[in-house]
Amino acid sequence: METTTLDIQKIRIDFPILSRKVNGKPLVYLDNAATSQTPQQVIDAIVDYYSNYNANIHRGVHALSQEATDKYEAARHKIQKHFNAAKSHEIIFTSGTTHGINMVASGFSTLLKKGDELLVSAMEHHSNIVPWQMLAERTGAILKVIPMNIEGELMMDAYDKLLSNKTRLVFCNHISNALGTINPIEEIIEKAHSAGAAVLIDGAQAAPHIKADMQQLDVDFYTVSAHKMCGPTGVGMLYGKEEWLNKLPPYQGGGEMIAEVTFEKTTYADLPHKFEAGTPNICGGIAFGTALDYMNNIGFDAIAAYEHELLQYATRRLLEIEGLKIYGTAKSKTSVLSFNIEGIHPYDIGTILDKLGIAVRTGHHCAQPIMDFYKIPGTVRASFCFYNTEEEVDVLVSGVRRAVAMLQ
């Protein structure tokens, strides 16, 4: 890795979990697309919150509440800056990507009518399929699928044909969790807008690798989870353009989200509070901000360059194994390797790798339509983060070889 500017060994020291052992072997953590590990800086932020200024926010007159509110809102500004949203109230704190998608899908119940069309890509996570199916059932809208080719790339000519003046919404992931494909979201957004449709991008898999610019993309909704980008679980953000967030009704009722309440009528608070009913995950929001600081200190360009090298190395090494097939060979992809070995069930490989201290994911990766497309029960998925090394790729390759020897 001569060309990289990252000092990986120094970075690894920031992640206490990376030095632990699993089944007596040094942990090789390659399940980053499921969740990334947490650096000490983020762990410290969590401890600091509960040790020094834990209080409910936005309402208290006391010092602790003020301090917690300031830090929470500072985190919102960090997120706004990171994703280059025009306004901080366009950033809604959520419990994660799934929550963000459901918020929008639920809101659109009031905006759709029978016969309206929704377009979904063929490579979505279940969390970006099911809420829209539920929306279609509620409203009578029709769900149509943008197909993909064998490489795992969306067929854009088919997309052009599917778009019409009936299309209300298009939803698609920025990067596929099962295949690693980077989708051409700029083109998807531009074409949807020309047809008069809004676009929601599931950025869960992209956020750890790519710094997405909301204003440049001109996207209507973009949603991410903190835990995939070195932050804690249970917190994420939904970006929505102000005009859309004003159009959508609140998702949940409760405290925080009201302006005035009488038994006759309630008026809702302004953005972003309209969508943030109840006491939020205050500590999580603040730690999310710390995670963004951490990643930005390393630098997204350096991360992307390093991960690209790692992906190329891992692809080359894995393909040396006889009978190994990689699913997801798009020209533009991130550091996800989904593979199978001829005649061996992915679950068997994953079980043996676990015994060797190697954490991968096996199964359908919450994307069953993709597995149906390839007519396979699932895959083994190794997904890399900037703290992974070529040496770990070597451990994976020898682990797979050992598993094959046992299983064939």
């Binding site: 089944n23 679950y347 068997d348 994953g350 079980t351 043996i352 199964g363 029960p377 046992m406 299983l407």
Partner: protein, 140 residues
């Protein structure tokens, strides 16, 4: 042999191995001796829900004893179901209902008992016992 005795036999066999690799290799071997389910019973209805791999189980009453056959498309899973069936097959339904499965822990397969949805051992045990309950009702 009673269920408890069979389970003790399995525990004894596994105790001969020094490391996990040998245990898994033996489990894979046991999978090869699994009484295979007739192809005609390999239907979606007979798939055990909750397993990452596909596992089919069929049960038939022979006299007053329940006989299980099964198959799986993953060979470690096949080994696991083979171990369970060896302990439960050719037993009276009531004995299967009453049997415990602590021996799984003793043979070093504890990780398969976690509530993580990826592995289906818990679902397999549940399904075998459900068959026993169904046939016990028939016998009553």
């Amino acid at each position: 042999m009673e269920i408890k005795e069979i389970q003790q036999d399995i525990v004894d066999e596994f105790s001969m191995f020094e490391d996990w690799m040998q245990r898994y290799e033996y489990m894979i071997e046991l999978g090869k001796s699994l009484p295979l389910i007739n192809e005609k019973y390999k239907t979606d209805d007979n798939i055990i829900k909750g397993c990452q791999s596909r596992v089919w189980v069929h049960a038939e009453l022979e006299a007053d004893k329940l006989v299980f056959t099964a198959d799986s498309d993953a060979i470690i899973t096949k080994g696991i179901i083979a171990i369970l069936i060896r302990s439960f097959s050719n037993q009276r339904p009531q004995d299967i209902i009453d049997a415990d499965t602590k021996f799984i822990d003793e043979i070093g397969l504890k990780e398969h008992l976690s509530p993580n949805r990826a592995n289906g051992l818990v679902s397999m045990i549940k399904q075998l016992k459900l068959y026993a309950v169904a046939y016990q009702t028939q016998l009553n």
